[in-house]
Amino acid sequence: MKKTLLKTEGISKYFHDPQTFQVLKSIDLEVRQGEFLSLVGKSGSGKSTLMYLLSTMDMDFEGKLKINGTELTGKSPDFLAQFRNEHIGFVFQFHFLLPEFTALENVMIPALKLRKYPASEIQKRALEKLDILGIADQAHKVSSKLSGGQQQRVAIARALINDPLLIMGDEPTGNLDSVNSKIVFDTFRRLTQELGQTIIAVTHDDDFAAKTDRVIEMKDGRILQPT
């Protein structure tokens, strides 16, 4: 049994605009290290909201969130930003690279922010990550000149740069064709199997979900298949 990386206790979340509405209803969830987990559910089921909570970007909820033994509820925004920087990698549906920067710079930025290594070391590591994703040859292109699939792979490399505990995917293949979807999925698979990376991905794609280690289906703010 691998150790528990992420744990929630009774998370409830309300939206107040336009009227008070409970999006998440007492969610208890445990994620173990090295798990490749997918969150599925219909629109409005609360899966994206849950992911934003788990990623510490939205801390306006009731209940408790613990990642790697660190209690995150009630922490200051600056602490959370630092925590995300160091321990959480993001992959979004719409690639979300900084368009003016090269692929390499995009990958380097979170590490430059963290300042764990000198810039030269960061560049070396960033090139390694790009190489893992097979796009090292595109490193010096401005990111807005890359294709959608390439951009998404750069985004994954960026998510990996600080060796995070956790990678969060928000519909990581939602905007990609089947070829690129497969590349992204295979990359995720490889990361979990070879590097022991933990990944939580929100997805609409049933094929994608079916191939992950564990599928958590959500409906009306609750988890349907508790594991």
């Binding site: 600056d78 995300r84 920087n85 979300f96 690279l97 003016e100 430059l112 922010k113 963290l114 960026r158």
Partner: protein, 415 residues
Amino acid sequence: MNVNFKIAKTHLLAKPKQTLVAMLGVTFGIGMFITMVSLMTGLNNFTEDLTKIASADIRMYKDITEPRPTLLEKINPNAVTWVHNVKPKNESEKIRNARQIADILRKDPEILGVAPRLTSQVFYNFGPVKLNGSVAGVDILEEDKLFDLNSKMIVGSLSALMTTSNGLIIGSGLAEKLSAKLGDLLILTTPQGITYSMKVVGVFQLGLGEIDNVRSYANIATVQKLLGKDAGYITDLNIKTTNYREARLKAEKIQATFGYKAEDWETANSTLLAGAIIRDIMTYSVSITLLVVAGFGIYNILNMTIYSKMKDIAILKATGFAAKDVTGIFMIQSLIIGLVGSLMGLVVGYILSLLLAQVPFDGGDLLSIDALPISFDPQFYLIGIVFGVATTAVAGWMPSRKAGKIDPIEIIRGI
């Protein structure tokens, strides 16, 4: 390089035109500020120099404008008295023991020189021409120490005055009007009707028409003779201090010590110098207006940049940039705009000042200058850059803070 700075730099370079326009706003404001302040200060300094040509730091004289108390008032100070038709007393303008006072003053370490003077109204007669003017009886060497007369001489020399007892150094305007040349004899007539023949031994030009057109210098003894007064008769003591900016305080002390009226140059020329304050107010109000306009420009451009960078801000925040980092990124941008814009403004201001210094300016009879007086005081360049950067910092603060507060989830969901 700090990553926030790197991102700020990339943002600025990604839209060079927009960045340049924002910078030019500041450049224009600072450039105009430098130009205006240089011109206005140049003019102020010029006015100040002019007044310094004409008046010593402190002038000591006997003030006879005080009302004269009647005898009745003196005897019954508390009574109600009524005396009709009181006439002023015939008081001498003489400063008693002037030479001794001068000697005492010269020992003061804050005083560089004391020049005794005695002035009389005269008519200059030369051939058929009869001109109104004044003759100043001076100790020419002391006078030179105070007013640097030697450098103002057009022809002749100061020493010639000392060797010629009836010598006269006349103003350039006067010389022109009288067509008097070196060695010519002028007839001077005093209000008392005494006439005296004087020899022109030099011509000076102070550059101030009101003096050059009327004044001449002679030896004290000669003027005393002209007025029929004794050798101790001196009406003015002109005093030069080490720091003319503090002449006012020094004058008060001197007045308290010797009991004669001591007037500093600023009080004596307050009407001329009042213009300086108005010019300063104008300069700063116009410059501040320009900078406020530039500030609004920066505010707008930064707001637009932030609006177009919402996605970037969301991703930065998601990957661990705190609100203060995002605010920092945009503050850096506005400060760079401010700094570069201000520096360009200084250059523009300097060039415009150089050009203005070439603009011909005819002072006419009154002032002898041929171009606009421009000040190149580095102090204003320092003020300019502080001004420029401060304005952009203020203008950039609100949009930057707003950027820091953007909620990344709203942006990511909003797609």
